[in-house]
C-alpha cells in the first residue's frame, strides 16, 4: 500500500468516529473533555458551532454518532454522547455575550427563508453575522417547525426551544410568524438575492382501507394529530388506542396517547422487531410506559358499528428469512380483531409543495420531491436552495442543520457570484499532547466503567402533566463517570517513520493489537497478516513510509485503538506521538474569507 496521506484532514477526521458519524461534524471528544474539566459553557459553544441547537439535540437528537462510537466496538455500549451534550446545555452559564451581535453594517444582500424549522434557522445563524438581511416566513404562530409542533414537550420542553431559537432570532433575523408563503412566484418577485426552502415534509401518509371514511372521526394522522396536541386543540383520546406504524412518530403518538387518557395503547407492527425504524431508546421508553408492541400484524380494515369505530381487523403474518436476515417470503396465517376507540396512523411523511408553481424552473421528480444538487443544495432554478426535510424527504434535526450550513455556504457564494461547486476546504490542526515522559494533556487511562443510565421521572408521576419532561438528564454522579468512557479518538497516534528503530515496543504493548511491523503489500493480504486480522473494512489502515532499518512498514489498524498512548509512552525515539487533532469545518464565514489556515501535520 502507499503510505497514508495524513495531511488530508479527512484521514484523521474518520478516526474520530463520532465526529465522522455526525452529519454536522460536532467535535464530540473535544466537548466531552471540556465537560470533564467543568467548562460547560465552552462545551456548549463548541457544540453550538457545529450543531447550533445543543440543548435541543442533547435531548432529541437521532444520535448517529452513538452507533458509530468506537467504545461500542471495544465494549458493547457507546459513550452517552447525546446525554453529555445536554449536560453542557444544562450546566452552562449565560452565553449571550458569546453570541454574534446583530450586524449594524449590512452587506446589502437580502435572503428569504421559507419555514422556521431547524434548517432555515441554521441558514439564518450562519448568514446573519455576515451582514445578510434575513427574512424568515413561517406559517405557524411559533417558530421551530416539527421540533415544536411534533416532538412532544415531555421530550423537549418549550423553554429549551424558545431559548435556542431566540439566540438566532436575536442576531437580527426578521421572523414573520403566521405568514405562510402561498406562492413561490410571488416570493421571487420580491427581488430577494436568494431563497431558501426549509418548509419540511409536512404531509402524513394516509391508510386507505375499508371503513376508513366511515370511522374518520376516530382515525388520526399522526403528525397532524401531534401538532393539534402541541397547540392544545386536542386534549383527550379514547381508552383503547391502536397506533399503526413503528417509526419514531409512532413512539411519540403512543406516549402522547397515554398522557391524554388512554388506558391501553398498542403499537401494531406488520413485521418483526428487527425491521422497526424507531430508535431502540424510543422503543425502550415506550415499553417502559406499558405500551404494548404487537408484531407480525398487517392492518386489513377498520371495523365500524353504528357509525363509530369499534376495532381494527389484522392479518397475522408469518415470514421466512434468508441467512442474512432478509425476508424471502411471507404468508397470512389468520385474522384477528383488536377492539379500539381510536387509531393513530404513523406510517410516514411526504413532501408537499402546493405553493411552488411548476412553471418557474423548479423541477420536481416523480415523487414530487424537488430536484436538488446534493452538494450545493441548489434546486434547478439558480438562487433557490432547499434543505432539511424539504430537500430529500424526512430525515432528522441534525441533518436539517447540516443542510442549513451547506446551503448557507452556497447562498454566500451565490451572492458573490462564485462557483457553488468550489466548496471551502476542510482544514486541521495537529498539536502534540505530550506534557512529560508519561504525561499527556488528556485522560489517557482506559476507564472500564459501564455506560451510565439517565434518571427518569417515576412512572407514577410522569403522566400528571402533558409537558412534564421525562428524562432528568445526567447529574454529576453520572456525568463525571460517563466522560471518562470517551476514548479521545481525536488525540491521534501520529507516526514518523524515520525515527523508528523497529524495537517492537509499541507493537508489544498495544492492548488491542492495533500495530504491526511487516512487509508491505496490497491491502487485502496486509489486513490478514497483522497482529490481529483487520476484519472491519470500514476502518482504515494507517501505513507508514518504509522503516529505515529493514524497509518494512509500520501498519496501524485504526479499528480498535483506544488512544491509551501506551505506544507513544513505550517508544524510545518518539516515533509515535499523540497529537490533538482539530478539524476545521468550513462554514459560510469561511467561504467569505477563504483564508483557512493550511493543514499542519506533526513532526
Amino acid at each position: 500500500m502507499q503510505p497514508t496521506d495524513i495531511t488530508d484532514p479527512q484521514y484523521f477526521h474518520k478516526v474520530v468516529d463520532c465526529q465522522w458519524g455526525c452529519p454536522a461534524h460536532t467535535d464530540v471528544p473535544g466537548y466531552i473533555r471540556l465537560i470533564a474539566q467543568g467548562r460547560f459553557t465552552d462545551a456548549y459553544m463548541l457544540n453550538r458551532q457545529a450543531n447550533v441547537f445543543p440543548g435541543i439535540l442533547g435531548r432529541v437528537c437521532d444520535r448517529p454518532c452513538e452507533p458509530a462510537c468506537r467504545r461500542g466496538r471495544v465494549e458493547d455500549k457507546p459513550v452517552a454522547i447525546c446525554r453529555l451534550k445536554r449536560v453542557a446545555a444544562d450546566n452552562r452559564d449565560d452565553v449571550a455575550a458569546l453570541l454574534p451581535k446583530p450586524v449594524q453594517q449590512k452587506n446589502g444582500k437580502r435572503v428569504a427563508l421559507v419555514g422556521a424549522g431547524p434548517a432555515s434557522l441554521t441558514v439564518a445563524n450562519d448568514l446573519l453575522p455576515l451582514g445578510y438581511e434575513v427574512v424568515i416566513y413561517e406559517a405557524l404562530d411559533v417558530p421551530g417547525g416539527l421540533m415544536r409542533s411534533n416532538i412532544p414537550s415531555f421530550r423537549l420542553p418549550v423553554e429549551v426551544l424558545d431559548e435556542e431559537i431566540g439566540m438566532i432570532v436575536g442576531m437580527g433575523a426578521d421572523l414573520r410568524l403566521g405568514t405562510p408563503v402561498p406562492s413561490m412566484k410571488a416570493l421571487l418577485a420580491e427581488g430577494y438575492d436568494a431563497v431558501f426552502v426549509g418548509s419540511g415534509a409536512p404531509r402524513g401518509k394516509n391508510l386507505k382501507l375499508a371503513g376508513r371514511d366511515a370511522a374518520s372521526a376516530n382515525i388520526h394522522i399522526g403528525i397532524a394529530w401531534l401538532e393539534s396536541v402541541a397547540f392544545g386543540h386536542i386534549d383527550r383520546i379514547g381508552e383503547k388506542v391502536l397506533i399503526i406504524g413503528v417509526g419514531n412518530t409512532a413512539m411519540d403518538c403512543c406516549r402522547t396517547s397515554l398522557r391524554l387518557g388512554a388506558k391501553s395503547v398498542k403499537v401494531m407492527a406488520r413485521k418483526p422487531r428487527q425491521f422497526f425504524k424507531a430508535s431502540p431508546w424510543e422503543l425502550e421508553d415506550a415499553e417502559a410506559e406499558t405500551v404494548e408492541i404487537v408484531v407480525n400484524h398487517a392492518p386489513k380494515s377498520f371495523v365500524v358499528e353504528n357509525g363509530k369505530l369499534v376495532g381494527m381487523l389484522f392479518e397475522k403474518m408469518e415470514y421466512q428469512f434468508d441467512e442474512r436476515g432478509r425476508i424471502t417470503s411471507e404468508k397470512v396465517v389468520g385474522e384477528i380483531l383488536f377492539p379500539c376507540d381510536d387509531v393513530v396512523l404513523a406510517i410516514g411523511q411526504e413532501n408537499a409543495f402546493p405553493w411552488i408553481e411548476r412553471d418557474i424552473g423548479i423541477e420536481f421528480d416523480k415523487w414530487e420531491v424537488p430536484v436538488v444538487d446534493p452538494v450545493t443544495y441548489q434546486g434547478t432554478r439558480p438562487g433557490v436552495f432547499f434543505g432539511g426535510d424539504a430537500a430529500f424527504g424526512p430525515k432528522n434535526i441534525i441533518w436539517a442543520v447540516e443542510h442549513g450550513h451547506q446551503a448557507a455556504i452556497s447562498i454566500h457564494s451565490y451572492c458573490q457570484s462564485r462557483d457553488l461547486h468550489e466548496r471551502p476546504p476542510y482544514g486541521m490542526n495537529l498539536t502534540t499532547s505530550k506534557m512529560g515522559t508519561h504525561e499527556w494533556a488528556f485522560s489517557n487511562a482506559y476507564d472500564p466503567v459501564e455506560r451510565r443510565l439517565v434518571p427518569h421521572v417515576s412512572l407514577k408521576e410522569r403522566f400528571a402533566k402533558l409537558d412534564l419532561e421525562v428524562e432528568l438528564g445526567f447529574g454529576p454522579e453520572q456525568f463525571v463517570k460517563e466522560v471518562e468512557r470517551c476514548l479521545n479518538c481525536d488525540i491521534q497516534t501520529v507516526f514518523t517513520a524515520k525515527l523508528c528503530i523497529e524495537c517492537d515496543a509499541c507493537v508489544d504493548i498495544c492492548p488491542t493489537r492495533c500495530l504491526t511491523i511487516t512487509d508491505n503489500g496490497e491491502e487485502t493480504g496486509l489486513r490478514q497478516r497483522l497482529s490481529a486480522p483487520a476484519a472491519n473494512l470500514e476502518q482504515a489502515l494507517y501505513v507508514s513510509a518504509e522503516l529505515p532499518q529493514t524497509r518494512r512498514v509500520m501498519v496501524k489498524d485504526e479499528d480498535l485503538c483506544i488512544h491509551c498512548s501506551l505506544c507513544a509512552e513505550r517508544c524510545p525515539t518518539g516515533a509515535w506521538d499523540m497529537q490533538k487533532f482539530t478539524l476545521k469545518v468550513p462554514y459560510a464565514a469561511a467561504a467569505a474569507d477563504a483564508d483557512l489556515a493550511p493543514a499542519r501535520t506533526g513532526t
Partner: protein, 351 residues
C-alpha cells in the same frame, strides 16, 4: 517505564489456546524497563510461546538473578511461580527447585552480566548437570541495570556510549555451552519474533538444558554507532543458519515444512523441531561442526543465529541422579520424613 497499567480491554477476536486462555492471560505487570528495551520484546515473545504451548500458568516457574533482564519474571505470567534470586545464583535455585519438583516448566531468565560474569560458574555447572530448563540469556553486551559497563559478552572493539573501546575478549555463551556438553544451544534476536518464538517453544519442550542466547539491544546504554549489540548492527550482521518450526506431538507436517533441506529432530514428548536451513549444509546434531561453524563466522564479525545444536538423547539431572518423579510436595509425609530410626539405619550403612 509507564505509570499506566496496560488496560484489560483487548481485541475481541483474540484466539484462545487449548486451555481457553488468550495471550493476554499470560501477561504480567507493566514493565519498568526503558522504553524500547530488547528485553521487553523477548518477554512478549515468551508470552506468545507459553500461550501457544498452552502451558497452564500454575505449572510454570520463572527464576532469575539480578539485572534488568532478571526483572523479566515480573513482566509475564502473573499466575506462575516466580523467584528473583541473587546475582548469578539463579542456576542453584533452579537446581534445587527442579530437584524438588521435576514436573514444572522451568524458565530461567538472566543477562550477560548475571550469566557470564558473576554467575559463570553456576551457569556452567547447570549445563553440565543437564538441568531440565529453558535458560534465556538476554544478551545486551552491558550491565544495563548498573548503567552500562561492558559485560563479558562485549566484543573487542565495541564502543561504549561515552566512547571507551572494549579490549577484553568476549565469552560467547553458545560456544561455551557447546564445549561443555549443552544439549540445546540456540541464538536469536529480540527484534525477530518469528525466529525467536519457535526456539523458545522447542527449548521448553527439550528435556535437558536449553540455552537460548538472545541478542537484546539496550536502548539506553548500548544502541549507538560503534556498538556491536545495537538494533542496527545486529540486523546487519546476523546470519540465520536455521529457522526452526516447532511441531506439537501428533501434528501433521505441512508440505512446505517438509521441503528440501529440512532437518527434523524429534523431542522426547513426540513433538518435533523442523530446521529449515539457509545456505550451508548445516547439521544441528553435529556438536563439533556447530562449534566450528559458529567460531568461523564469529571471526568474520557475523552473528550466527538459529537452533545451532540439539541432542535429545542425553539424560537430564533427574535421570542421572535417579531423583523421584513425584514432586516432593506430593510425597506422603511418612515417606518424606521416615523418622530417626530410618535415618539411623541409613547412617549405619556408612559406618
Amino acid at each position: 517505564m509507564s505509570f499506566l497499567q496496560k488496560p484489560k480491554v483487548s481485541h475481541p477476536g483474540l484466539p484462545r489456546n487449548e486451555l481457553g486462555l488468550t495471550v493476554r492471560d499470560y501477561e504480567g505487570g507493566m514493565s519498568t524497563l526503558c522504553a524500547g528495551c530488547g528485553h521487553d520484546s523477548i518477554t512478549a515473545a515468551l508470552i506468545q510461546a507459553v500461550f501457544e504451548l498452552s502451558i497452564p500458568p500454575h505449572r510454570m516457574a520463572k527464576l532469575s538473578g539480578i539485572g534488568c533482564s532478571s526483572k523479566t519474571p515480573a513482566y509475564f505470567a502473573s499466575a506462575s511461580h516466580g523467584f528473583n534470586s541473587v546475582h548469578g545464583r539463579m542456576p542453584s535455585v533452579a537446581t534445587g527447585a527442579n530437584a524438588a519438583n521435576g514436573e514444572l516448566v522451568y524458565i530461567g531468565l538472566s543477562g550477560d552480566g548475571d550469566t557470564l560474569s558473576i554467575g559463570l560458574g553456576q551457569f556452567c555447572h547447570a549445563i553440565r548437570r543437564n538441568l531440565n530448563m529453558l535458560y534465556l540469556l538476554e544478551n545486551n553486551g552491558v550491565y544495563g541495570l548498573t548503567k552500562g559497563q561492558f559485560s563479558a559478552s562485549a566484543d573487542v572493539g565495541s564502543k561504549a556510549k561515552k566512547g571507551e573501546v572494549n579490549q577484553q575478549p568476549p565469552i560467547d555463551p553458545c560456544l561455551l555451552a557447546l564445549s561443555i556438553g549443552c544439549t540445546f544451544v540456540a541464538r536469536s534476536f529480540s527484534g525477530d519474533k518469528a525466529h525467536l518464538v519457535p526456539l523458545l517453544k522447542a527449548g521448553m519442550r527439550h528435556r535437558g538444558f536449553a540455552l537460548v542466547d538472545v541478542i537484546s539491544p539496550c536502548v539506553t546504554f548500548n544502541d549507538h554507532e560503534g556498538s556491536t549489540k545495537s538494533y542496527q548492527f545486529t540486523r546487519k550482521n546476523a546470519q540465520v543458519v536455521t529457522y526452526a518450526d516447532y511441531v506439537p506431538p501428533a501434528t501433521e507436517i505441512r508440505s512446505e515444512q517438509a521441503a528440501g533441506t529440512v532437518q527434523s529432530v524429534t523431542l522426547h514428548d513426540g513433538s518435533r523441531v523442523l530446521l529449515r536451513k539457509v545456505g550451508a549444509d548445516y547439521d544441528a546434531t553435529d556438536r563439533t561442526g556447530a562449534f566450528d561453524y559458529v567460531s568461523r563466522h564469529q571471526a568474520k564479525g557475523e552473528i550466527v543465529t538459529g537452533l545451532l545444536f540439539i541432542d535429545e538423547g542425553k539424560p537430564d539431572m533427574h535421570q542421572v541422579q535417579s531423583l523421584p518423579d513425584q514432586p516432593l510436595n506430593a510425597v506422603p509425609y511418612g515417606k518424606l520424613n521416615p523418622g530417626q530410626k530410618a535415618l539411623d539405619a541409613i547412617q549405619a550403612r556408612f559406618r
